[in-house]
Symmetry: C2
Subunit: 98 residues, 2 copies
């Protein structure tokens, strides 16, 4: 499995709008086992995204999906920057597909 | 919802043993929507744990469950420290219970 933990910083006041785009754009991605969008309670502009994919290739391929491309295009103007990007190797746990 | 993103550092050489304890100890926790255990590919002792709970209270209550208490007791000697602990407010995404 392939995992990502990332912190995205929204433009001031744009976090909720950015969260909505992320929620809409991340359904039905092949190979995506988990994709959780969370607000940072200590940073009014911060969004944490935690992802689990069956492989790094599935993640890479998702970036070319039309729905994802469209979400990226809408999200880009609302993004101020990326504060953290951590790659992981998920090994299991609760809540992943069997 | 209530989320946690944490990095645990295992004692040298003990990461796999610690991962096994975490995998065993985290089944059947009421209110737990997701609990993913991942190795850090850049740190041979590092483990990332990402959690989604229906509430902070459910997370707190889980720490008193006999199976979790037993896992904590077995895990403690294998833990060198905690490098990060981030609380989040998950808002949705893919892979959470409907």
């Amino acid at each position: 499995m392939y995992g990502l933990i990332g912190k995205v910083r929204a433009m001031p006041g744009q976090r909720d709008a950015l969260v909505e785009i992320l929620l809409e754009g991340t359904a039905g991605m092949p190979g995506c086992q988990s994709y959780v969008i969370a607000k940072d309670p200590t940073d009014t502009d911060g969004i944490w995204i935690t992802e689990v994919w069956d492989s790094a290739d599935s993640h890479k391929a998702s970036l070319s999906l039309p729905a994802v491309q469209e979400a990226i295009a809408r999200a880009r103007p609302l993004i101020a920057g990326f504060d953290q990007r951590i790659e992981t190797e998920p090994v299991g746990g609760h809540g992943l597909p069997a």
